[in-house]
Symmetry: C2
Subunit: 344 residues, 2 copies
DNA sequence: CTGAAAGCGCTAACAT
DNA sequence: ATGTTAGCGCTTTCAG
């Protein structure tokens, strides 16, 4: 079963010790800088490490209870601009601290989450970054008891004890819909995100709030689920367009589903934005490059990743630090997919 | 799973052994399925693992010489669509095999490469995927001696002993330039990539070959370095446009630098593609979304990632398997940035 | 088949 | 200040 080719003569702390003529514990001391070591010995050790090309064994170190300089990152998927941009932000901060990243993709399978978290917290990682966790309540409790540093990104709803980084979802939608109303739209469709995601709820709340504040009658047939996917957006749009009184504008809870909405509208032969206005949420890179460019509510993805990592480092330094919740501001990015309402 | 067990009390193999009334070695046996174990014991062990919520400790396992189900991935950076798309492909294959990914970003610092590789090969990873390594010759030799499974992505030039996955760089450029020539262009600028990257060399070779084959005179002032960056592309374009006889079309060695070329041309008040034709290479997601959409040579990024992972798994299964070099076909994607040459 | 015992490379007491 | 000694959790002989 086990590879017969396994035995590689990796340089260990003991090899270094032998060459430097000291005990391996002393080598460990200079590596970790834990105790004073005589200058000449330190010198010899450093030299030996260099000559031998010593690279510490992460697993052994972590097993023995040392620091790892690795943070675990749990994401639902990758490749869509959303996750990618956040990872970029995280990576920027991590490399500034000389940390590395262990990436786990759950592919939205919720059963994987607790297992990965458990695995990561067994020593591999010094801290955890959870992006859009599906059902974190189960293991978060355990993390807190362990005082294991973690920060949740873009998911705020499940408890009041976790440090989180997110965006002003409610206000973002509020601003976006306000703009649509200013353009003269009154029947505005809303393609919602997954129910169990707190950001979905917040965005929907923003939609309701602004209609209410503006005294526009609320019609729940105008709210259809889109599940944050392109296909979901497509189907949602079809459903909306099939209404006896279809909306003149559609707000999609994220950019990806907005793309689906656009596809569906076009499939009906509609022209955007002349026949229908469409707005997204996120401002993933694609949003700006497509034609017509997507008007959307910008979520500062890179900054969110970076801030989350920054916050995590604070916890790693000071595990008993106070819980923090950071809400970064969204911003309406007006591009080309929304136009003034014109009655036909 | 019962909730009366305290979560996160780091259940070990010994705890399981105790509960099941066997030795921890036997537990290890059923975990790894390495020897026959009496059915009743196996039953009790499985049950205990489940009840206690046992999750194997990766570090310990790897230290002790076991399999890890992790592959290491070394990338120069992330966030640009190029790396992201390849990672996506890798991830797709990995999760099909139930493997996880340890991601290292070198941020183009070449000194990091050998250290990361060394670290990963010390047991953490079962195999290595190297994306665009800068200077792999040093450590590749060691990997091969250890028979450590690895696959290099998009870098073929450094030796003849490594398994690689790449694209038909030379042919891709050949096709692209041929198209430009068909459009009537005769003076075609070439914004090259980093000298030390083999794909740069291949792409440049394609450029030279087609000019030669078509009997078009070769002018080396038309070749300027762009370094695969947007800024590099910008500067290169400025340089090209400042020529006494500037080109009527510019081929950029990758899409990102093509973006810079476009920026620079526009800064000169030029209109694309009316005043100048521009072509890129890669077809990263942005290329299709921008306006005008970029005509480019498509490199099957997702497939490259996926195939590389697939190939890596073959090596993990069969470490002495033959070296393989896979060249995936590029494809000219005609969009909107190239037009027929018109003399003014 | 299965238990006992020996490490993997490292950190952290515990003695000096 | 530094060597000695225990493990961390696991895999893998080696005896039964």
């Amino acid at each position: 079963m086990l590879s017969d080719d396994k035995p590689f003569s990796n340089v260990t702390i003991k090899d270094v010790a032998k060459v430097a003529g000291v005990s391996h514990a002393t080598v460990s001391r200079v590596i970790n800088n834990t105790t004073k070591v005589a200058d000449d010995k330190r010198e010899r050790i450093l030299d030996a490490m260099d000559r031998l090309g010593y690279v510490p064994n992460m697993q052994a170190r972590s097993l023995a209870g040392g620091r790892t300089k690795v943070i675990g990152l749990l994401v639902p998927d990758i490749g869509n601009g959303y996750t990618g941009t956040i990872i970029e932000g995280i990576d920027a901060e991590l490399s500034a601290h000389d940390y590395d990243m262990m990436l786990y993709t759950t592919h939205h399978r919720k059963v994987k989450e607790p297992i990965y978290v458990q695995s990561l917290t067994q020593g591999m990682a010094a801290g955890l970054l959870l992006l859009l966790p599906v059902d974190p309540s189960a293991y978060l409790e355990g993390l807190r008891r362990k005082k294991f540093p973690y920060v949740v990104i873009d998911h705020q709803g499940f408890d009041n004890f976790s440090s989180t980084v997110g965006a002003t979802n409610r206000q973002g939608v509020y601003d976006g819909i306000t703009y649509l109303i200013e353009l003269g739209h009154r029947r505005i469709g809303f393609v919602s995100g997954p129910d169990m995601m707190s950001c979905s709820m917040e965005r929907l709340a923003g939609y309701r709030a602004v209609l209410n504040d503006q005294g526009i009658s609320y019609d729940d047939r105008l709210i259809v689920p889109g599940n944050h996917t392109q296909l979901g957006g497509y189907k949602a749009c079809v459903q909306l367009l099939d209404l006896e009184k279809p909306p003149s504008a559609i707000f999609a809870a994220n950019d990806v589903s907005a793309f689906g909405v656009i596809d569906a509208a076009r499939a009906r032969g509609m022209h955007i934005p002349d026949d229908i206005s469409i707005m997204g949420f996120d401002d993933i890179p694609q949003a700006g490059w497509m034609t017509p460019a997507l008007t959307t509510v910008r979520q500062p993805l890179f900054a969110m990743g970076r801030q989350a990592a920054k916050m995590l480092f604070e916890f790693i330094e000071e595990p008993k630090g106070p819980m923090r919740r950071l809400q970064l501001s969204t911003e309406l990015v007006i591009r080309e997919t929304c136009a003034r309402f014109k009655d036909i």
